[in-house]
C-alpha cells in the first residue's frame, strides 16, 4: 500500500477539478493584462468562486509576453493548476506559448484581428468601431466574449464593470455587450454559493494590516515586488490618514522611518533584497537605538538583480542575520492575503511593544498575487505598545527595567530630554565606553528577545493543515502555503508551516511535528533555508524538494515530485 491515499473530500483529481475554473489571459506587455485579469477575477468572484490570480510578466515596459492566470475554486486557494478551462488570447503568441496548458475542453477566445482560427474569435477593431470606442477598450470585448462563452449572465458583467472600471464604464459596457452578443456559450461554468469577497493582492493586505497596526508613515523606494505597496498606500493615503514618502534611496528610506518613530509616529518601510542590503546599516541602528520599525522584505529571484519580476525564497537567512551586532528581531512570513492582514498588524504591534525591527517576509507570489479575503475570517490580533514615560525627571530613554522595554517619551513632551544614540550608551542615552554599562545594556536589549519569544507563544506561529494525523509532512513557509495544501489534500499528507521565523517557534513546531516520520521540505530556493534553520533546533528534513528558477511551484509538478518521495 502506498502511504498516500486520495482524499476523503474528493474521489480523484478530476472530481476536485469540477469545482475549479481556470482562465489565462495573455498578450503583450502594455496590453493591460493585469487589469483585464483583475476584471476576470471579479467576474468569477461575483458568480461565487474563491479567487487566486497569478500575474507573470518580464522586467520590461512594452513588448514582452504578459499573462495572468485566474483560478476560481469552491475553496480558499493560493495556487494555479496548469490545465486551462479558458484561454483568452490578445495575440497569437499567447496561443503558442500556452498550448501545452490546453485540452480539447479548453475554450479559446481570441482577438480575431491578431489570432487566426483559434477558438471563438472576436473582431475587436470592428467591435470598437461599431460603438465608437477607443482602442484602449479592446480588452472589454475579450472579457465580454469570455463571459458569454462561460455562460455568465449579462447582469453580472454589468455589476462588475460598474464597480471596478473607474472611467468610461458605459462605453466599456457597450464594447463588452457587442462581443457578448456575438459569441456562443460553449463552456458553461457552474455557479458557486458564496457572496463576492474582497479581492486583495498580498501587498495590499500587508498595507492594510500595517494600517490596522497603527501605521502613520510609509517610506519606500521603488523595487519590485514591493513597489505595488508604495503605489497602493500613496494612492490611498488621504483616506487612511497616513504620510507616504519616496526618498532618494533605501538608505534614506529606513532613516526616515526611524526619524518618524523617534517622534512617536508608527512607520514602516518596504523593499526587496537589493534595497534591503542598503538598509542593513540602519537596521543595526534601529537595534542599538531601540527604535520600533516594521519592514516588508518581498523576495524575488537572486542573487543581485536576479530576476526582478519573478519569485524566490532565498533571503530568509539574510533577513535573519542582517546588520552588525546582536539584537532581537521578529520575522513573520504570511502565506496568503488573509494571513498578511493579520501578521502585518502583529508585526507593527510587536515592533512597538518591544522597540525592535519586525519583518514581514513576503515574495513575488504573495505580494503580487490576488486572493479572496473572507471578511468574516479577518481576525484582529489585539494591540501592542510600549509603556509610556510617567513624567519623572530625568527621563531615562534606556531605563534598565526588568523586561528590558524602557518606557517611551517623544520630543516635545514637557521636561523629557529624549536621546536616541547609535553608540553604546547609558540609561539616559549618553555615549559610554564603560565596560560594565556596555554589558548591562546589551543584556537589557537581549532580554527583550526573551520577552518577545514569550509573547509569540500566544500567537499561532506554526500552522498545521492537510491531514494532521499523517506521518508524512510537507515542511514549508510563506507563499507555498497554497500549493502545499492542495498537494497534501490530494495525497493525504500533513502540512507544517511556521509563520513566525524569528524568534524560532521551536516548541510549537515540535508539537506540530508530533508523529511525523517523514519530513519533506518544500522551498523556492536552492539550499533549503528553512530546513537549515530548523536543523539548528534538531529538526531534520528527510527529503528536500526545491525550485529556484523564479517560478512558483505548480501543483501539477509538485504532485509528481512529492509522489516520488512518498510511494
Amino acid at each position: 500500500m502506498p502511504t498516500y491515499l486520495p482524499l476523503q473530500k474528493y474521489q480523484n483529481i478530476q472530481e476536485a477539478f469540477m469545482k475549479n475554473i481556470s482562465v489565462l489571459i495573455g498578450g503583450k506587455a502594455g496590453d493591460g493584462i493585469n487589469s483585464a485579469g483583475a476584471l476576470v477575477a471579479q467576474l468569477l468572484n461575483h458568480i461565487g468562486y474563491h479567487i487566486y490570480l497569478y500575474f507573470d510578466y518580464p522586467s520590461l515596459i512594452r513588448g514582452g509576453h504578459n499573462f495572468a492566470i485566474i483560478r476560481g475554486s469552491d475553496e480558499s486557494i493560493g495556487t494555479c493548476w496548469k490545465t486551462l478551462d479558458f484561454l483568452l488570447a490578445l495575440n497569437s503568441e499567447t496561443v503558442e506559448k500556452h498550448r501545452d496548458k490546453c485540452t480539447n475542453e479548453t475554450a479559446i477566445i481570441s482577438n480575431a484581428d491578431q489570432v487566426k482560427s483559434a477558438g471563438q474569435g472576436i473582431p475587436v477593431k470592428a467591435v470598437l468601431a461599431g460603438v465608437n470606442a477607443p482602442a484602449i477598450m479592446g480588452n472589454s470585448a475579450i472579457i465580454g466574449g469570455f463571459a458569454k462563452t462561460a455562460g455568465i449572465e449579462w447582469n453580472v458583467v454589468e455589476d462588475v464593470f460598474k464597480r471596478h472600471i473607474p472611467k468610461g464604464v458605459d462605453l466599456n459596457l457597450k464594447v463588452a455587450k457587442a462581443a457578448y452578443d456575438q459569441l456562443e456559450t460553449v463552456h458553461p461554468v457552474s455557479r458557486g454559493v458564496k457572496p463576492p469577497y474582497p479581492l486583495l493582492t498580498g501587498n495590499e493586505a500587508i498595507g492594510l494590516g500595517m494600517v490596522n497596526g497603527g501605521l502613520d508613515a510609509y517610506v519606500s523606494y521603488p523595487m519590485t515586488p514591493s513597489s505595488s505597496l508604495l503605489h497602493f498606500l500613496a494612492e490611498e493615503k488621504e483616506k487612511l490618514g497616513i504620510t507616504v514618502v519616496h526618498p532618494e534611496s533605501e538608505i534614506a528610506v529606513i532613516l526616515m522611518a526611524l526619524g518618524f518613530a523617534y517622534t512617536g509616529k508608527r512607520s514602516a518601510v518596504g523593499t526587496s533584497g537589493g534595497g534591503f542590503c542598503l538598509m542593513t546599516e540602519s537596521l543595526s541602528l534601529a537595534g542599538m537605538a531601540e527604535i520600533p520599525l516594521t519592514l516588508l522584505v518581498s523576495q524575488r529571484t537572486g542573487p543581485s538583480t536576479g530576476l526582478p519580476t519573478y519569485t524566490g525564497q532565498s533571503d530568509l537567512h539574510f533577513v535573519l542575520n542582517a546588520g552588525q551586532g546582536e539584537y532581537p528581531r521578529l520575522i513573520v512570513a504570511p502565506g496568503d492575503a488573509l494571513e498578511a492582514l493579520y501578521w502585518s498588524e502583529v508585526a507593527m504591534n510587536m515592533a512597538w511593544k518591544f522597540q525592535i525591527p519586525a519583518f514581514i517576509l513576503s515574495d513575488k507570489t504573495l505580494s503580487e498575487g490576488t486572493y479572496s479575503v473572507d471578511p468574516a475570517a479577518i481576525s484582529e490580533p489585539g494591540s501592542g505598545d510600549s509603556p509610556r514615560w510617567t513624567g519623572a525627571v530625568p527621563y531615562l530613554r534606556y531605563a534598565d527595567v526588568p523586561g528590558g522595554v524602557s518606557p517611551l517619551a517623544f520630543p516635545g513632551m514637557k521636561d523629557a530630554v529624549v536621546r536616541a544614540n547609535s553608540y553604546a550608551h547609558d540609561e539616559t542615552g549618553i555615549t559610554t565606553e564603560d565596560a560594565s554599562t556596555v554589558a548591562r545594556m546589551t543584556d537589557k536589549r537581549l532580554r527583550k528577545g526573551g520577552m518577545l519569544a514569550d509573547e509569540m507563544r500566544g500567537y499561532p506561529g506554526v500552522n498545521v493543515s492537510g491531514i494532521p494525523g499523517s506521518s508524512t509532512a510537507l515542511f514549508c513557509w510563506g507563499s507555498t502555503k497554497g500549493v502545499c495544501n492542495e498537494i497534501a489534500a490530494l495525497l493525504g499528507l500533513r502540512v507544517v508551516r511556521p509563520v513566525v521565523l524569528s524568534p524560532f517557534p521551536v516548541d510549537q513546531l515540535k508539537e506540530a511535528l508530533t508523529g511525523v516520520r517523514k519530513l519533506i521540505s518544500v522551498e523556492e530556493n536552492a539550499t533549503a533555508q528553512l530546513a537549515a534553520l530548523a536543523e539548528r533546533y534538531g529538526i531534520i528534513a528527510d527529503e528536500k524538494i526545491l525550485r529556484y528558477d523564479g517560478r512558483p511551484f505548480l501543483p501539477d509538478d509538485l504532485l509528481v515530485r512529492v509522489k516520488e518521495m512518498v510511494v
Partner: protein, 283 residues
C-alpha cells in the same frame, strides 16, 4: 523645562583649541535666548552624524538623535515631518554630509525641508585621525594620501546653490558673532537652511592663520540674487588662494516639504473603519 542647564556633565573630549567649542558655545547662547524668549527647549531636536562634530549630541542637554556616519538629514527630515512643531537642527561634518551622506544633502536642499543644517567643516577627518575630506585642498597630505590628494575639493556653497537650498551661508569659528547671527537666521528661515562653518581642527588641519587674514563679511550683497550668490560662492573654491567671503550668500522663500507633504492624521478607530470601507470596494 525652564532654566535648564544647557551643557551636560559629560566629559568633553574635543582637543584644546578645537573649533567645535565655538559652535557649541554659539548654540548654547542661541538656546538660552530661545528659552529667555519664553519658548520651550522641549521642542528643539538636534540630529548629528558620527565624527568629532557629533559629540555635541552628548554635550547639549536637549533632545538628540545621535545617528550614524553620513545619516543625519533623512532622520532630521522625518522628525520634522513627524512633528512639524519641532525645531530641528542638524549638526554634521564635512566627511559626514559631503562624503558618506552627499545624496541626502542634495535631496534635503531639493526638498526644502524646514530644518537647519550646520556643517562643522574642518576639511579633515578628525576622529579617524587625519584623512582628506571632500573639501580638503588639492594635494592635501593625509594618512590615506601621504603623497597628497589627486582630486580637487568641491565647493559646498556652490553645490547647495545648484541643489536648490533656500538659505545658503558660510561662517567661521573665529567670528562667533557672525556665526551666531547666521545660525539664528537659518533657524528663523522657513525652509532648508545650509550653513557651512569653517571650523578649525587644532590637531590635523590648524589653518586659522590662513583663514583669518583672508575672510571678510559680505556687505552690499543682494542675497535675493542667485547670480550674485553664484559669483560670490565661486570666489574661493576651497583649494586655491583667494579671499573668503563669510555671511549669507542667498535666501529665498519657497514652499516647504513638510507643509506640502502634510497629511491630516486620523484616530486609530477611524483608520480601522477606513480599512473596512476600502475592503468593501474590492468585492
Amino acid at each position: 523645562m525652564t532654566g535648564r542647564q544647557i551643557i551636560t556633565d559629560t566629559q568633553n573630549t574635543w582637543c584644546p583649541g578645537c573649533g567645535n567649542f565655538s559652535i557649541q558655545h554659539t548654540l548654547k547662547n542661541i538656546l538660552t535666548e530661545i528659552e529667555q524668549s519664553g519658548k520651550s527647549l522641549d521642542d528643539v531636536v538636534l540630529v548629528t552624524g558620527i565624527g568629532c562634530h557629533a559629540k555635541i549630541a552628548d554635550y547639549l542637554n536637549i533632545n538628540t538623535f545621535y545617528s550614524i556616519h553620513g545619516r543625519t538629514l533623512p532622520v532630521a527630515t522625518a522628525i520634522k515631518l513627524g512633528n512639524p512643531h519641532l525645531t530641528v537642527i542638524c549638526c554634521s561634518g564635512d566627511g559626514d554630509s559631503y562624503a558618506e551622506g552627499l545624496d541626502h544633502l542634495i535631496f534635503a536642499a531639493k526638498r526644502n525641508i524646514d530644518i537647519t543644517l550646520i556643517i562643522h567643516n574642518n576639511r579633515v577627518y578628525g576622529l579617524t585621525t587625519g584623512q582628506y575630506t571632500p573639501t580638503s585642498p588639492l594635494g592635501f597630505k593625509g594618512k590615506s594620501t601621504p603623497s597628497g590628494t589627486a582630486e580637487y575639493p568641491f565647493n559646498p556653497v556652490e553645490l547647495m546653490l545648484a541643489s536648490g537650498a533656500t538659505y545658503v551661508a558660510r561662517g567661521y569659528t573665529k567670528n562667533m558673532e557672525l556665526l551666531k547671527n547666521l545660525i539664528k537666521e537659518g533657524m528663523a528661515h522657513k525652509g532648508f537652511a545650509f550653513i557651512d562653518v569653517l571650523q578649525i581642527c587644532a590637531t590635523f588641519f590648524p589653518v586659522a592663520d590662513y583663514y583669518t587674514p583672508r575672510v571678510y563679511e559680505l556687505t552690499d550683497h543682494d542675497r535675493s540674487s542667485f547670480e550674485a550668490a553664484c559669483i560670490k560662492a565661486r570666489e574661493w573654491d576651497y583649494s586655491r588662494d583667494s579671499r573668503i567671503a563669510l555671511g549669507t550668500f542667498f535666501q529665498r522663500s519657497l514652499p516647504c516639504f513638510d507643509d506640502t507633504m502634510a497629511v491630516k492624521g486620523m484616530e486609530q478607530k477611524d483608520r480601522r473603519q477606513a480599512v473596512r470601507d476600502l475592503l468593501l470596494t474590492r468585492s
